[in-house]
């Protein structure tokens, strides 16, 4: 029997407990694949006295990081404790001592992925992070290995389960944002402080990681334009439904020539888009490659066991490399220098809902602004007059540059006849 591969686990929360469970339950399969036993040697926790799942042997627990980071017998460090600053130091220390690392930490990878990967490579170590994006969906391997020969030009992702759950419920039950958020919090699909999810920051971190890999370009978190879902109304969703659109918080990464754009924003997807049918807390990433065309990867974006599956599958990759003696060679440095599109190179269709004075000539005034910027319409709904002499106009534009769109919004808000631009969203149709 070969010597066991020994693991140090940093963190024993939801995902950490899942990792312990999978390594225990699937020991046979792991053994069959890598030819030796896999043993968790130590687990770093904050409190030694908290009650733990029954799978966990209390003798493994430690609250001293160096018990793991400086244990020469530990081959692989699995990081599922979260956090950025301190965690980064732990992982750098582990890598510098020749330990391979598997992490589920999107915040850390989005902010310091490039530095960590460099240190891993310098020390001949693997650093795998499949679980950091879209939980149980093997999307990073899909990009790196499965589509290795293709040139990826577009990635669109529903990569945050909380917001997808909220938007699905709002749309299906005709409820408003606040009520659904409360329900989501009660069901455990949203955190007590939901800001990072509902304002799009969590999705932006994942898009940073995806865009960096998919475009082979060092995309940083600050490069991602972000807008959240907290202003979406149930009324917006109803209009969308009439037009054949489904609202999603969409991560959008697009490459044209040598330039890219990356954003996270509420988006109306046409109902026949493969992403439109992704409901509740599920995630999916749609990838367009020049040769392969449209593909989509669908699955659970979070949760103890799904995320732990991705972590342990990464561990299998590390262990296979260990057995073959080829660790530390998988990190590919970006092929291209970062080049971001300017706003006048970012094109999209837009949905606008505008409240105007119910007067003769207003519609002409309004449309002349769009005409001035060369933007035409795909659809126009003028709706029955409402109270207070207000009329509601719903427009879907043909493609406009972000520069022109911003200018149009500015002029609309300036127009005396416009009472309020109630809402404005990007629109994505079936074909790119």
């Amino acid at each position: 029997m070969m010597k066991a591969i020994q693991i140090g686990l940093l963190g024993l929360g939801t995902v950490g407990s899942g990792v312990v469970k999978i390594i225990k339950n699937h020991q046979d399969k792991l053994m069959h694949q890598v030819g030796c036993p896999v043993v968790i040697k130590k687990i770093l926790v904050q409190s030694l006295h908290k009650t733990r799942p029954s799978e966990v042997d209390p003798a493994l627990l430690t609250s001293t990081p160096s018990d793991i980071l400086h244990d020469p017998e530990i081959d692989v460090v699995i990081e599922v404790m979260g956090g950025v600053k301190e965690t980064k130091e732990y992982l750098l220390s582990a890598l510098r001592q020749g330990k391979h690392v598997v992490t589920a930490n999107k915040d850390l990878m989005a902010l310091h992925g490039s530095e960590l990967l460099t240190v891993a490579s310098e020390n001949g170590c693997d650093l795998f992070y499949e679980a950091s994006v879209a939980g149980g969906i093997p999307i990073l391997r899909g990009l790196v290995d499965g589509l290795a020969s293709d040139r990826i030009t577009q990635m669109m992702g529903i990569v945050n389960g909380t917001t997808n759950f909220i938007l699905t419920k709002m749309s299906q039950d005709g409820l408003n944002y606040e009520d659904v958020l409360k329900e989501a919090q009660e069901l455990g699909f949203a955190e007590a402080d939901p800001t990072s999810d509902v304002e799009g920051l969590d999705a932006a971190r994942k898009m940073t990681i995806l865009a960096t890999l998919g475009f082979s370009m060092n995309i940083e978190l600050d490069d991602v334009q972000v807008k959240g879902i907290s202003n979406i109304t149930e009324e917006d969703l109803r209009y969308g439904k009439q037009l054949g659109y489904t609202m999603k918080l969409l991560g959008y990464a697009h490459r044209e020539g040598e330039k890219v754009e990356v954003s996270v924003q509420p988006t109306f997807l046409s109902d026949n888009h493969p992403l439109a049918s992704v409901q509740n807390e599920y995630n999916a990433v749609y990838v367009y490659g020049e040769a392969v065309g449209e593909t989509m990867f669908y699955g659970p974006g979070a949760g103890s066991l799904p995320t732990a599956t991705a972590v342990v599958s990464d561990l299998v990759g590390v262990m296979k490399n260990l057995r073959l003696g080829v660790n530390g060679r998988s990190a590919v440095t970006p092929q291209y220098p970062k080049r971001l599109k300017d706003d006048n190179e970012k094109y999209s269709k837009y949905f606008l809902r505008i409240h105007v004075q119910d007067e003769v000539g207003v519609f002409a005034e309004l449309t002349s602004i769009f005409a001035k910027y060369g933007v035409s319409f795909e659809k126009i709904l003028q709706l029955p007059v409402k109270k207070n002499e207000t009329s509601e106009i719903v427009l879907v534009t043909h493609k406009a540059s972000l520069t022109n769109y911003d200018a149009i919004l500015y002029e609309l808000n300036d127009l005396p006849a416009v009472k309020e631009v109630k809402s404005a969203y990007r629109v994505v149709r079936k074909s790119i």
Copy 2:
């Protein structure tokens, strides 16, 4: 600069031309990933005089297999010529001479995969075959690497584009099978002799490959129960629609305990199942793992460039291994001995459409047969009396074993009051 990796290409049809194009167009990306140039050295064709795509240098063409199989400078053989008997000999010869093999040949892998993989392993060679299942979708890597740590209990696949195109059109346009088949043939989505596609044989070959990998068990083509789509009527699809079902030719692989079942058959999927929205010629494979839960991989199942993407991505895998000196270690022998479920262990819900005499007591007679076998109903539609004193009854059963289902069908056909069992399909709902 490192020495170039040299390729021998067997076949220059649709997929072969795609491979030439991708290797040419994406040379930079390939070079970046593997650190050396990739060169196609020779291409085996049947006719040296046929007109070829402009990317192909005529000097590379040969009609003599040994020009490739016995060229010591060729590192990797890519097989996209199709066929089984002769092709198998070519690949065995290549492997025995230490050449790595990438193949897109599902017929070959379904029939002789196990033997070829053994020979590859004995000779320290890689044998990759991602393109053999679901064209451009990296599903085999998803199973082997992405879900490496999980225990897969169910795979359901729409793995034949021709039949999915036909069923989508029949359902959307209310057309009958023959008319849509003709249209599909004209559009190039169905072959002149469509038997292998429409009778489910093509899908069965792919399910053989998927089940062997996913269950780590040597499943053979003969183990797959197969039924095609040529008897499906537009009327069936209309009834399905009323009940909230979409018809798909579904590859179904299920594991319970140590036993598995694999089949390909027309199946009513409930509309909210992720596979139900996979339309036209697209493919998708739904995978259920004990830990990860539901995942789905979606994309083009065929076509020159999508399939070639999978082939060249496999080539990248071979080349990375070559550079690391670790070829021939990826084939994992099946972990489990083959154990197939008996018919009384295969459970499913069923849809039945039955024409009966319009007489008192017929319905009671009919249902008493189901009761005798302990099968109850989820839904019953008794429909308006039709001409010739015939009444139509549509039933959806709760789960029944295949043994009982077969016995019920036998007795129904024997009942004097039953004019005809018009159709009978498996039903799959959202949750497993």
